[in-house]
C-alpha cells in the first residue's frame, strides 16, 4: 500500500505511542524508522554475556497496579500495559556530593522521604512536608488547567491555587530562595536536576517540582527486560492493530501540496508514500531544516526553532563487571555522584570535555539480581554535556577522547564509593554524543530535546502548543514536544499529537 491515513516518522517513544493511538481509532498508519529496531533511545544492546540498557535509569509514572500512575493508565489505554513486566525500585537514590560531604541514601515514599531529611537538618521533615503540600497544589492546579482544556476560571485559580500562580514565573533557585529552606534540604531536593538537565537558575520551578513530587510519592520502576521490552511491546501492539512498521526506512522528505498541506513522505531510496497527516518523532531542527523544502517552511517555524536551546548531549559508560555487586560492596541501584550540589556550577563545568562534574550511575543488579550471569554485574554511568564540546573532536582523537572521559568517570565513581571496579571490567561500551547522533539523528547528539528554559518550560509549551505548529497536516511529538524530555513525557507527547491529528482529521472530514 502506498497510502496511509497517518505516517509516523521515527519509531522512538513518541512515534510508537502516536501510532498506537492512531490505530486504536481504526485509521491506517505506517511508521518509518531509519534504524533496524524500534525505540530510539529506548533500547538495549548485547556485549558478550551482558545485555545493557541503553538509556533508562528509572521510569516514573507507572506506580503499582493498585495505585497506577498516569503512564500506566496511558499504557492500559494503548493496550501495551499487559505486555510489560515492571520491577519496583526500593530506594530513590544514593547521593554523594564532594564539596558538601554528602553521602546518604534517600527512600521513595512521601513520608519516608520527608522523615529521612531529618538526618540532614533537625526540621528537615517539616520543610519537606511543606514543600510537598506546595507540590500537591501545583499538581492539582495543572490537573484543573487540563480539565478546562487550558481555559481555567481565574477566580477558581486565585481561590484554590494561589501558590501555583505565585510561583509560576520562578526558577528552581528563585523558588527555593523564596521558601527559605536550609541549604542541606535545598541541596537534597535539587538532586534530580540532571534528569531535566537545565540548571536551577533557568529551570522552571513548576516543572521541576511536579517531576520530583511524582518521583518521591509514586516511586519508580524499570522494565524487567530493559527498555527494549517497552519498544517491542509497542511494536507488537502496532502489528495487532494492523499497523505497519518499516525499518531501515529513513524519511528524507516531507511532501506538501500547493496549499502547503502535508501530502506524503519520500523515503531514502526514492519511494513516495501518500498521506495527509505526518507525525514526526524527531527534532524540529531536522523537520524544518532538513526534511522540508525551505519554501514550505513558514517563517515563524524558523523563528521558534532558532529561539530554542538544544539540551544535554549524552555520554554513557556501560560496564559488564566480572564480580557481583555484593562482592564489590555496591548496595544501591541509583547513585548520583556530584562535585557540588550547586546545579549552576555543575552545568557550567559540563560545558567542556575534561570535567565530569556529575554522574548518574546505576548498578542494575541491585534492582534486578537476574539481569546478568551469576558472579557478574552491570554498571552504567551517565553524564551530560551542556554545550557542543564534542563537535570539535576529530576522527583520529575520537576513540582516545571517549576512553579518557570514561576512565575519569570510573575513577570518580571508585573514589566516591570506595569500590574498586576497574580491574574487573569484562565488557565496555561507551556512548558519546556522536553515538546518540548516529542512532537518533539529533543535532549535537542531544538526548534531552530542547532545554527546559525559563521561557520554554513545561507550562509555556503546553499553553502555546497550537500556536507552535505551522504546517497543516504536520505535528511533532516525542522528546522535543510540549512535555519535554523523559520516557513518560515522550510517550505522552506522541499520544497527544496523535489525538490532535485525529481531531484534525475529524475536522477535515466535516
Amino acid at each position: 500500500m502506498d497510502k496511509y491515513d497517518v505516517i509516523v516518522i521515527g519509531a522512538g517513544n513518541g512515534g510508537l505511542g502516536a501510532a498506537c493511538r492512531i490505530l486504536n481509532e481504526g485509521k491506517t498508519c505506517l511508521v518509518c524508522e531509519k534504524h533496524n529496531i524500534p525505540g530510539g533511545f529506548a533500547t538495549s544492546f548485547v556485549r558478550g554475556r551482558f545485555e545493557f540498557e541503553a538509556s533508562l535509569h528509572e521510569f516514573n509514572g507507572i506506580g503499582t497496579p493498585e495505585e497506577p500512575g498516569s503512564t500506566r493508565i496511558l499504557f492500559e489505554e494503548l493496550g501495551v500495559a499487559d505486555k510489560i513486566e515492571w520491577i519496583q525500585l526500593k530506594d530513590a537514590y544514593h547521593l554523594i556530593s564532594e564539596a558538601e560531604g554528602y553521602d546518604f541514601v534517600m527512600p521513595f515514599g512521601r513520608e519516608a522521604f520527608a522523615r529521612a531529611n531529618n538526618q540532614l537538618h533537625p526540621d528537615g521533615e517539616k520543610y519537606v512536608n511543606e514543600f510537598f503540600d506546595l507540590c500537591q497544589q501545583i499538581r492539582d492546579a495543572m490537573a484543573y488547567i487540563g480539565e478546562t482544556k487550558g481555559r481555567p476560571d481565574p477566580a477558581v485559580m486565585m481561590e484554590k491555587y494561589p501558590d501555583y500562580l505565585a510561583c509560576g514565573s520562578y526558577s528552581v533557585n528563585e523558588a527555593f530562595e523564596a521558601l527559605g529552606y536550609p541549604k542541606e534540604i535545598v541541596d537534597n531536593l535539587n538532586t534530580y536536576w540532571c534528569y531535566l538537565g537545565a540548571d536551577g537558575n533557568n529551570l522552571s520551578f513548576l516543572h521541576y517540582a511536579n517531576m520530583i513530587y511524582s518521583y518521591f510519592t509514586k516511586g519508580a520502576t524499570i522494565p524487567k527486560y530493559r527498555s527494549h521490552e517497552l519498544s517491542l511491546a509497542f511494536e507488537e501492539r502496532i502489528h495487532e492493530l494492523g499497523g505497519d512498521i518499516w525499518f531501515n526506512s529513513e524519511v528524507v522528505k516531507i511532501l506538501t501540496d500547493e496549499e502547503g498541506h502535508v501530502c506524503g513522505v519520500r523515503l531514502k531510496e526514492g519511494r513516495e508514500i501518500e498521506s495527509r497527516h505526518v507525525i514526526a518523532n524527531c527534532s524540529p531542527h531536522v523537520v524544518y531544516g532538513k526534511l522540508m523544502d525551505s519554501d514550505a517552511v513558514p517563517e515563524r517555524a524558523l523563528k521558534l526553532t532558532n529561539f530554542r536551546k538544544l539540551a544535554g548531549r549524552g555520554f554513557t559508560v556501560f560496564l559488564g563487571i566480572s564480580k557481583s555487586a555484593e562482592e564489590l560492596g555496591l548496595k544501591d541501584h541509583n547513585y548520583f555522584i556530584y562535585d557540588t550540589a550547586d546545579s549552576v556550577k555543575q552545568y557550567e563545568s559540563m560545558k567542556t570535555i575534561g570535567n565530569t562534574a556529575a554522574q548518574a550511575t546505576v548498578c542494575l543488579n541491585n534492582a534486578d539480581p537476574d539481569c546478568s550471569p551469576e558472579g557478574t554485574c552491570i554498571i552504567y554511568m551517565t553524564t551530560l554535556f551542556t554545550d557542543d564540546a564534542w563537535s570539535s573532536v576529530g576522527k583520529e582523537d575520537y576513540f582516545k577522547t571517549k576512553n579518557k572521559v570514561a576512565a575519569d568517570m570510573i575513577a570518580r565513581f571508585e573514589k566516591a564509593t570506595g569500590v574498586s571496579i576497574h580491574d574487573h571490567i569484562e565488557e565496555i561500551a561507551i556512548a558519546t554524543p556522536e553515538t546518540y547522533a548516529r542512532y537518533c539523528g539529533h543535532p549535537q547528539g542531544t538526548v534531552y530535546g530542547y532545554e527546559s528554559q525559563y521561557y520554554d518550560g513545561l507550562m509555556n509549551r503546553i499553553q502555546m502548543v497550537e500556536e507552535d505548529r505551522f504546517v497543516p497536516g504536520l505535528r511533532i511529538g516525542g522528546g522535543y514536544g510540549e512535555r519535554l524530555l523523559g520516557f513518560p513525557s515522550s510517550y505522552k507527547s506522541g499520544v497527544n499529537e496523535a489525538r490532535r491529528t485525529l481531531r484534525d482529521m475529524e475536522k477535515e472530514g466535516r
Binding site: N36, S44, V46, L134, M158, P162, L165, A166, C167, G168, S169, A178, L179, G180, K224, R226, H228, E229, L232, E236, D244, W246, N248, S249, K268, E269, G270, S283, G289, K290, R300, L302, K303, L304, N306, F307, R313, D388, S391, S392, V393, K395, E396, Y398, F399, N403, I425, E427, P433, T435, A437, R438, G441, P443, Q444, G445, Y455, D456, M459, M464
Partner: protein, 420 residues
C-alpha cells in the same frame, strides 16, 4: 507562602500570567535564519558510521597456499564500475538520483584496529554478504585504502578469489565489532593468538601501533601447518624494513605444526609456550578456527589465566549437522513485499535468503551484532545457545537474528530491508 519578587501586590501572579506573551515576543525577535541541524558531532558520526558505501576491487594478491589479499578503493561517483551480477539489487541501488551519494569522499571510515567490514554483492543467482577483518591500519583507511584477507572456504570467498576481477563493485559495510584493544577493558599487553586468516585483525593492530593510532604492546603467536601456510611476512612487522617493530612492543612467534624451520617454533600453541609470553599486564585475544579456541582455552585454563581477560573473535555460524535434511517453506516479508522460498533445516535462514537472491541485511553472521534483527510471525526454529546473543525481550516477543537461526518448520518472518 513566601513567593514575592516585588512588593507590589499581585505582581508575581501577573508575571506568571504574562510568561506566554513574553515567550511570544522573544520568538518574534528571533531571526528566521536557516536552521543548522548538522554539527561537528553529526558529521563525525556520519564519517565513522556511513552505513554501506560502494567500493571497487583494486587488486588481488595471493599471500599463502589458500589466502588472497584483496585491496579495495572507494568507488568514484558515477564510475561505471562493473557491478557483479544483476537482478534484485538493494533498495535504491539503481536509482540514478542517488548516484554518487554512497561514495565516501575518497576515504574509508577511520576505525579501531581489529574491526571488520561486511562485503555484499550479487554472485550468480545469490546476493551474498560476508564479514572480513581489515588488514589495513586506521590511517590507511583514511587515505582511501582498505585491504582484507580472504581464505578459500565457501561460495563467497571462491567468488572473490576466482570470479571477481579488479574493478568489480561491492557494497562495503562500515567497520564494526568490539575485537579491538580497549585501554579501559584490556591490559596493556595483548597476547594475540591466531590461525589461518585469523591473523588479519592483528596485522591491522601491529600497523596501528607502528603508526601511533594505537598504544599497547602486542605479541602475536601464530599457528600454521607449514611456512607455505603463513599469509603474512613477519619481517614486514618486526624486521628492519618495519623500522621499530620491537621497540614499539611488537613481537611475532610463528609455531609450525608440520615443518621444522629455523626461526620458527615447532609444535602446537601449548601452555608451556604461552606462559613465556604472559606477564602480569596481559590480556589474550584469539582469532582463528573454533578448534583452535577449544585447544588454547584449555591450555590457558591450565595456567589459571583469568577468563574475563580472554576475548575470542566469533566465527560465522555455518551449516549444522541434522539426522535428516528437511526442506521447509519460508515466507518472507520485506516491507509490503512477500517472498516465498525454500529453507533447509541444516542451513541458517540467512543462507536460504541469500540463495534465493534476496538482498537481506546481515553484518557479523555469528549471531552477535543484531543487524539482521527480524520478527518471527510464525514457525519453529533452533538457535544454538552459544550463538544466541539476542536481547531478553527479543526472546519474549519472538525476534531472531536470521544469521544464527535454523528453521524447524515452515516459517514466516518479517525482515528489515537492505537499504544502503
Amino acid at each position: 507562602m513566601a513567593f514575592k519578587r516585588s512588593n507590589v501586590p499581585g505582581e508575581d501572579i501577573k508575571l506568571a500570567m504574562g510568561m506566554t506573551a513574553e515567550r511570544r515576543r522573544l520568538i518574534d525577535e528571533t531571526p528566521a535564519a536557516p536552521l543548522v541541524y548538522e554539527y561537528g558531532v553529526n558529521r563525525l558520526a556520519k564519517a565513522l558510521h556511513p552505513g554501506f558505501v560502494k567500493a571497487v576491487i583494486a587488486e588481488k594478491t595471493p599471500c599463502s597456499a589458500d589466502c588472497v589479499k584483496i585491496g579495495l578503493v572507494p568507488a568514484a561517483s558515477g564510475s561505471g564500475a562493473k557491478t557483479a551480477g544483476g537482478g534484485i539489487e538493494p533498495a535504491g541501488g539503481g536509482d540514478p538520483a542517488r548516484e554518487g551519494e554512497s561514495a565516501c569522499g575518497g576515504e574509508f571510515p577511520y576505525f579501531r584496529a581489529g574491526q571488520f567490514i561486511t562485503l555484499s554483492c550479487r554472485a550468480g543467482e545469490s546476493f551474498l554478504s560476508r564479514p572480513y577483518s581489515i588488514i589495513s591500519s586506521p590511517k590507511e583507511a583514511l587515505a582511501g585504502s582498505l585491504e582484507i584477507m580472504v581464505q578459500r572456504k565457501g561460495i563467497f570467498s571462491t567468488f572473490l578469489i576466482d570470479e571477481a576481477p579488479a574493478g568489480t563493485e561491492l557494497w562495503v559495510g562500515e567497520p564494526s565489532g568490539d575485537f579491538h584493544h580497549d585501554s579501559i577493558r584490556d591490559r596493556n599487553h595483548i597476547l594475540a593468538i591466531a590461525g589461518g586468516s585469523g591473523v588479519t585483525p592483528f596485522l591491522s593492530m601491529m600497523k596501528a601501533i607502528r603508526e601511533g593510532s594505537e598504544d599497547f604492546r602486542l605479541t602475536l603467536v601464530y599457528g600454521a601447518r607449514t611456512k607455505a601456510h603463513i599469509p603474512f611476512d613477519p619481517e614486514d612487522f618486526i624486521g628492519e624494513a618495519a623500522g621499530k617493530g620491537a621497540e614499539k612492543g611488537v613481537n611475532i612467534v610463528v609455531v609450525l605444526s608440520e615443518e621444522e624451520a629455523e626461526g620458527f617454533r615447532h609444535g602446537f600453541i601449548t601452555a608451556d609456550l604461552l606462559k613465556e609470553y604472559i606477564d602480569d599486564d596481559t590480556s589474550v585475544f584469539m582469532c582463528g578456527p573454533d578448534a583452535m579456541y577449544r585447544f588454547v582455552q584449555d591450555e590457558l585454563n591450565s595456567l589459571g589465566f583469568d577468563s574475563s581477560k580472554i576475548r575470542q573473535e566469533r566465527n560465522s555460524v555455518g551449516d549444522r549437522k541434522v539426522s535428516e535434511i528437511k526442506l521447509y517453506k519460508l515466507t518472507v516479508h520485506i516491507r509490503d513485499v512477500v517472498y516465498e522460498l525454500e529453507a533447509s533445516n541444516n542451513e541458517t535462514l540467512i543462507t536460504a535468503l541469500e540463495r534465493a537472491g534476496i538482498p537481506a541485511v546481515v553484518r557479523c553472521r555469528n549471531g552477535s551484532c543484531g543487524f539482521c534483527h527480524s520478527r518471527v510471525v510464525d514457525g519453529e526454529y533452533f538457535i544454538d545457545s552459544k550463538d544466541d546473543f539476542r536481547r531478553a525481550a527479543d526472546k519474549k516477543f519472538n525476534y531472531i537474528h536470521p544469521c544464527s537461526t535454523y528453521p524447524e518448520s515452515d516459517m514466516e518472518i518479517d525482515i528489515p530491508i537492505m537499504n544502503p
